[in-house]
Symmetry: C2
Subunit: 397 residues, 2 copies
């Protein structure tokens, strides 16, 4: 028998992935063009041609042994320098390359941070609704995830609940901005208030409480919204990032951690990140991808494509009477379920071949997530199905 822990994990395994597989099956039977799969946050806008060109050039021009070889566990200095330069230029920060650790995506980055800071029983706070994987990432390192309530309907965090939830045991707060699953961006004012609360609690408990930011959607923002860069507001901050969404390369597993230079014991913390990268079995971020990134810091996928989807689906769903907060970033929309148990609504949508993920997967029941990173044509084709669904719920919208 495998471990008891893993048996439980399998039993409660990702509803998102399960839906993804179900969608594939449905597509086989009903025809792919008749299935409207909004279940998975899989980028679908083109990978920048310049990035693919950078890969080819690296393979053609670089010494193969160096290109595919080991480097420091934190990554190639020149890649780390490119990240630092790019952040400094855009956000007025002062990162040296030593503050940057290249990682196996943001999922890898978060695990590396938690391995570095958590002792058994330490608590980590997250604002609901949140990406369900956080629970596993914290548990991997014997931490305990505690939820902070959202302020509904704005879906900004409930700051008085944050203050109540911080205890002697609290070691970190995860901030995902823009937010998966709501698409909300936490404002600068919100971030300043959060920072003030954490500062006060650090004083009170006489130990660090880290902000751990998860920012894979940082470049996916609309209407000229700004995402506050957290190290500017709070010193004990680890920013984790992935290029999965901005370059449409989620399969390549490449991201980084930026540790705030003003962090307490910064040198030791950075050493810890490097050691954690090694011990956890990542060892280092994939090397060819690191090299290709050097020239691609400003490359972006077609964000306007997602924006057009956003306008269409948000506009039509609200016209039909559905309720949801207007997404400002990422490529998700968080719809209020027209009936209390959103699982029934997910089932009803599925009958119309619309695949959604229940809010319970994000610790926010009563809602469903719709990932609109799909083709515009599919989105248009799906609208009659949403109309039928709305008709079914006519008296509950």
């Amino acid at each position: 028998m495998i471990s008891k822990q893993m048996q439980q994990e399998i039993a409660g395994s990702s509803a998102i992935r399960a839906m993804f597989l179900e969608g594939k099956e449905m597509a086989k039977q009903a025809g792919a063009e008749n299935v409207y799969d909004f279940s998975l946050g899989n980028p679908m806008t083109p990978v920048p041609a310049s990035y693919n060109q950078a890969i080819i050039e690296a393979v053609q021009k670089e010494n193969s042994l160096e290109l595919h070889g080991y480097m420091d566990n934190a990554g190639y200095p020149e890649t780390r320098q490119a990240v630092a330069d790019n952040l400094n230029q855009r956000f007025g920060t002062d990162f040296a390359y030593t503050h940057i650790v290249m990682t196996v995506g943001a999922a890898g980055a978060l695990n590396v941070v938690f391995k570095t800071i958590l002792d058994p029983g330490d608590e980590v706070l997250a604002f609901a609704p949140y990406f369900g994987e956080y629970r596993g990432y914290v548990a991997n390192h014997q931490g305990i995830l505690r939820e902070v309530k959202p302020d509904i309907p704005s879906f900004q965090p409930d700051l008085s609940d944050l203050e109540n939830k911080i205890t002697e045991k609290t070691k970190a707060l995860i901030i995902n901005n823009p937010v998966n699953p709501t698409g909300v961006i936490y404002t600068e004012e919100t971030i300043q208030k959060i920072a003030a609360i954490l500062e006060k609690k650090q004083q009170e408990y006489q130990h660090e409480i880290y902000m751990v930011s998860d920012e894979p959607y940082r470049e996916l923002v609309y209407d000229k919204n700004q995402v506050p860069f957290l190290t500017k507001y709070y010193a004990n901050t680890f920013v984790t990032y992935s290029f999965s969404k901005s370059l449409s390369i989620p399969g390549e597993r490449i991201g980084y951690i930026a540790a705030c230079p003003r962090m307490a014991d910064c040198g030791q913390a950075i050493q810890g990140l490097s050691v954690a990268n090694r011990i956890l079995g990542f060892v280092n971020a994939p090397s060819l991808m690191q090299k290709a990134l050097i020239s691609s810091m400003d490359a972006r996928t077609d964000v306007a494509y997602y924006d057009r989807n956003r306008q269409l689906i948000y506009g039509r769903l609200t016209e039909l009477g559905f309720t949801c907060v207007k997404p400002q970033g990422a490529f998700y929309l968080f719809l209020k379920s027209p009936e209390p148990d959103e699982k029934n609504f997910v089932m009803a949508a599925k009958k119309h071949h619309i695949l959604l993920v229940g809010g319970s997967s994000f610790s926010c029941p009563g809602y469903v997530r719709l990932a609109y990173c799909v083709s515009y044509e599919m989105l248009k084709r799906s609208l009659p199905a949403f109309e039928k669904l709305a008709e079914e719920y006519r008296n509950h919208l």
Copy 2:
């Protein structure tokens, strides 16, 4: 402050990596050509040109979104099929693609296996001397590593000690073959005896005891030696593999787990591996590398180059009076320290600009590891330094 656990990890951080950095520093001062760095197992024979060509062709020909995109956490079915076919053809096994899970190298694979099988307090056995990172990999999942003594001077495992060390708590035995750091290959007879002991103990304790094989050096064998393929001898076996050494691509982090089809609860175990890959933050093995591998299953770096190094250094060191078991595989040589505390011998060698790693890093004090994955020219240049070192220890060899 970061976690207490990580503070300890940093304090005792990898001596191998420390030596690697020290070597870089020494090279700056004394000139790279006067430093004989045998500290790191970093492949240095060429990456097969066909592999680089496969990368370029994949980027040029494949749909970019699919090439760099998410796939099942276990990897692309066609890559897994290629691995299964290759193993079946070479070893007469009967893997389906479903038994293969693509991973972030062997380090990732081992962590995925331990996450899948270990509950807190479970014990994992390893034959000393062993790769020191195993200790961290087991501890990551709250397991406890226990050592089994070697039979010296053959460095085959001491099987009566194995039998004594298996308890009610034993969940797995790590087998690294060929062995880092000795270069020894465990014979078929040894493997059969180990399998018989594990079968008996499984009966006695009425639960599975898994063989977890770590085989990054499987293709690096000399003198037509054979490495037994473990699933043929024992059903509850996970074989972990990395392409780091056979293709000289350690920075790319690509490997796999092959789960024996005859394993108990095989379907559940495989599901567990896939879930563990996701939860631990690997998510999946890097996608472009997976695609490039499909056509490269039989590609190999220049193993004859390492063999020439092996002959030269083993021959000369034994002529000089040093004692070591003759390596049959991998690219390491495990030298008996001419004085009881090998740390002093490591220091003495360093004065001659020879960088070695103490056996304590492999839980086998009194020995040092020499990694001969270096250029043949450097190896030849290093011989006078070894002669001086031998002279210094004239009365102790």
